[in-house]
C-alpha cells in the first residue's frame, strides 16, 4: 500500500500493460487469421469466401464470436464436470502464455518488443506447448463420450511422436546459435538465416509443426470424417470457441518460432533495414500462416498408421541424423 509508483512497482505495471496489449493484438490476429484462412481456402476452391458481413467480409470474425457467445453451453451427462469445464482453459491459457517470451523485434533498451526476454526462451515455449496438449487430451477424456476419447488418444500419441522430431530439429539451430535465448538466436542470423545451413531441420520443423497444431493434413485429432469432431465433439458455444482460438493461436506460435529460429526473426531481407524489424517479423509470420492454409487447402488427411510410420520411421531418424551431422560440423570447425 506504500505506493503504486515506486520503480519496483512500475516494472510490473509495464509488464501488465504489455500483456494487455499483446492479448488484444493476438486475439485480433487470431480473428483475422481465421477470416483469411476461409478467404484463401475459398479462392483456392474457386469461391469468393465469406463476403456478406461488412465490406469484403471483414466483420465476419465479430459475428462469429457473437454467435459462439450466444450459443447454449452444453455438457454431456456422462462428462466429468470439473475437468470438462477446465480443459478449454488449459488449452487457451498455455497458448497465450507462450507469447510472454516471444520477442517481436530487437528488444533494445527497456525491452520494448517482448514481455520477457528469457534466456531459455525456446525451452519455455516447448514446455508450454506441451502442457497445452493436456487441454485436448483431458477435454476429450472428460467428455465421457467415445469420439472425443478417440480423438484425445490420437492427439496424445501424435503429439508425443512428433514432438520428438520437432525438438530434434530445433536442437540443430540451438547448436549453431550456441544459445537458447530467442533474441540471441535471432541475432546469430544477421549474416545467414539458419534455414540455409539447417534446411533439413527447417523442413522437419515445418512438417512437425503442422502435426503439433493438429492442422490438415495431420488433423487426425479432429478427423471430422470418422470422429465427428474429435476431442471437441461434445463442446459447444464459447467453450468450443476457446479450443478453436487455442488452435489458431498455436498456429501463430509455431509460425513465430519458425520465423525466429529459421527465417532470421526481425532481420531484414536484402539489407532493407529502413523497414522496421517488427514489420519483417510480421511479414514472415504471415507467410508461414499462408503456407499452413495452403497446405490445408491442398492435401487430404493422411491415414493414421502412415502418420505414425512417417513420424517414427522418417522424421525422427532424419532429424537425429541432422542433429548429429550439425554437432560434428560445429565441433570440427570449432
Amino acid at each position: 500500500m506504500t505506493s503504486w509508483w515506486t520503480p519496483q512497482a512500475s516494472i510490473w505495471w509495464v509488464v501488465l500493460i504489455k500483456c494487455a496489449v499483446l492479448l488484444f493484438v493476438v486475439i485480433t490476429t487470431f480473428a483475422y487469421a481465421m477470416l483469411f484462412e476461409r478467404k484463401i481456402m475459398g479462392w483456392m476452391q474457386i469461391r469468393p469466401g465469406p463476403n456478406r458481413v461488412g465490406p469484403w467480409g471483414l466483420l465476419q470474425p465479430a459475428v462469429d464470436a457473437l454467435k459462439l457467445i450466444l450459443k447454449e453451453d452444453l455438457k454431456p451427462k456422462t462428462a466429468d464436470p470439473l475437468i470438462y469445464w477446465l480443459a478449454p482453459f488449459i488449452s487457451l491459457v498455455t497458448a497465450f502464455a507462450v507469447y510472454a517470451v516471444i520477442p517481436f523485434a530487437q528488444p533494445g533498451p527497456g525491452n520494448v518488443w517482448a514481455v520477457g526476454d528469457v534466456n531459455a526462451g525456446i525451452l519455455v515455449i516447448l514446455a508450454l506447448t506441451s502442457i497445452g496438449v493436456y487441454g485436448i487430451s483431458l477435454g476429450g477424456w472428460a467428455s465421457g463420450s467415445k469420439y472425443p476419447l478417440l480423438g484425445s488418444v490420437r492427439s496424445t500419441a501424435q503429439l508425443i511422436s512428433y514432438e520428438l522430431a520437432m525438438a530434434m530439429s530445433l536442437i540443430g539451430v540451438l547448436i549453431l546459435a550456441g544459445t537458447t535465448s530467442l533474441v540471441g538466436i535471432v541475432n546469430g542470423q544477421v549474416k545467414l538465416w539458419y534455414f540455409i545451413p539447417q534446411f533439413v531441420g527447417f523442413v522437419i520443423y515445418v512438417i512437425t509443426a503442422v502435426a503439433e497444431t493438429n492442422r490438415a493434413p495431420f488433423d487426425l485429432v479432429e478427423a471430422d470424417a470418422e470422429l465427428v469432431g474429435g476431442f471437441n465433439t461434445e463442446y459447444s458455444g464459447l467453450r468450443f470457441g476457446l479450443f478453436f482460438i487455442a488452435e489458431y493461436i498455436n498456429m501463430l506460435t509455431v509460425a513465430c518460432i519458425a520465423t525466429l529460429l529459421f527465417l532470421g526473426g526481425w532481420n531484414a531481407i536484402g539489407g532493407l533495414t529502413m523497414i522496421p524489424g517488427i514489420v519483417w517479423f510480421l511479414v514472415k509470420v504471415a507467410f508461414f500462416m499462408f503456407v499452413y492454409i495452403w497446405l490445408r487447402a491442398t492435401f487430404p488427411r493422411i491415414r493414421y498408421d502412415r502418420l505414425m510410420a512417417f513420424g517414427w520411421k522418417v522424421l525422427l531418424p532424419v532429424a537425429t541424423l541432422n542433429l548429429v551431422v550439425t554437432a560434428l560440423v560445429v565441433a570440427v570447425r570449432g
Binding site: 484463401i40 479462392w43 483456392m44 476452391q45 474457386i46 469461391r47 469468393p48 463476403n51 495452403w294 497446405l295 487447402a297 491442398t298 492435401f299 502412415r306 512417417f310 522418417v314
Partner: protein, 201 residues
C-alpha cells in the same frame, strides 16, 4: 508396400499439388452473388405457372380440365362452372371456378401448356417461390391469374418488361460462363458446352 511407400514420400507430387492450388487461387470465380445478382434465364425457362386473359380482360381458361388430365404429376385441380349471361368470366360456355396447382408436386414439364386449347395456362420464368408452409405452395386462382392490366394477351416473354416484376433485377452475370454466346436451348446446355471446352484444352 514398397509401391505405397514410394507414393507417400513422392515430394515432387506434393509440390505439384501445391502449385495447382496456388494457381487456382487467382482463377476467376464463377460464383454468382445470387440474391443480389441473378442469372439470366433462358427465354423459355419453365417456372411458375400463370393463367392468362384475353385483351378484353376475359379469362382464357374454359375449364376443360385437359391440363389436369395431361399432368404427369397430378398437380392440377380444375373445377369448371357454367358462365352466366350476367357474369361472363370467359368467352366460352364454361370457366374455371377453381384452378389450383400444387407447386410442390409440379415437375415443370410444360405439358399443361401444350395441352391447353386456349393458351390459358403458361409457364413463366419465375422460380423463386420457396415458402415455409406446404399449404402456401398450392397456388389458386388468386395468385395464378394475371391481373387484368398486366400484359394482357401476351406471353410473359413478349411483354414490354419481358419478365414479371417480382422476378427481380437481373443484373449482368459476371462469370466465365458466357450466357450470351452459344446460348440456344437451356442454360444447362450452355454451361455444359463451356465445361467440355475447358476439359478438351
Amino acid at each position: 508396400m514398397v509401391n505405397g511407400r514410394k507414393k507417400l514420400y513422392n515430394v515432387g507430387a506434393l509440390l505439384r499439388g501445391m502449385a495447382v492450388t496456388f494457381r487456382f487461387m487467382f482463377r476467376r470465380k464463377p460464383t454468382i452473388q445470387y440474391p443480389s445478382v441473378k442469372k439470366k434465364h433462358a427465354p423459355r425457362f419453365h417456372g411458375l405457372h400463370e393463367l392468362r386473359r384475353y385483351g378484353d380482360g376475359k379469362e382464357r381458361c374454359i375449364g376443360c380440365e385437359l391440363c389436369s388430365s395431361v399432368c404427369p404429376a397430378n398437380a392440377i385441380t380444375v373445377i369448371g362452372a357454367e358462365n352466366s349471361p350476367e357474369d361472363r368470366r370467359s368467352p366460352g360456355e364454361r370457366y374455371a371456378a377453381r384452378y389450383e396447382i400444387d407447386e410442390l408436386r409440379c415437375i415443370f414439364c410444360g405439358m399443361c401448356e401444350e395441352a391447353c386449347p386456349t393458351d390459358a395456362i403458361v409457364l413463366t420464368p419465375r422460380f423463386e417461390m420457396s415458402d415455409y408452409r406446404r399449404g402456401s405452395l398450392i397456388y389458386a386462382k388468386d395468385r395464378l391469374l394475371v391481373p387484368p392490366d398486366a400484359g394482357v394477351g401476351m406471353a410473359p416473354d413478349d411483354r414490354p418488361g419481358g419478365i414479371p416484376a417480382d422476378l427481380g433485377r437481373v443484373a449482368e452475370v459476371k462469370s466465365n460462363v458466357d450466357t450470351d454466346v452459344g446460348y440456344d436451348a437451356t442454360w444447362r446446355g450452355t454451361v455444359l458446352k463451356t465445361q467440355t471446352k475447358g476439359l478438351a484444352e
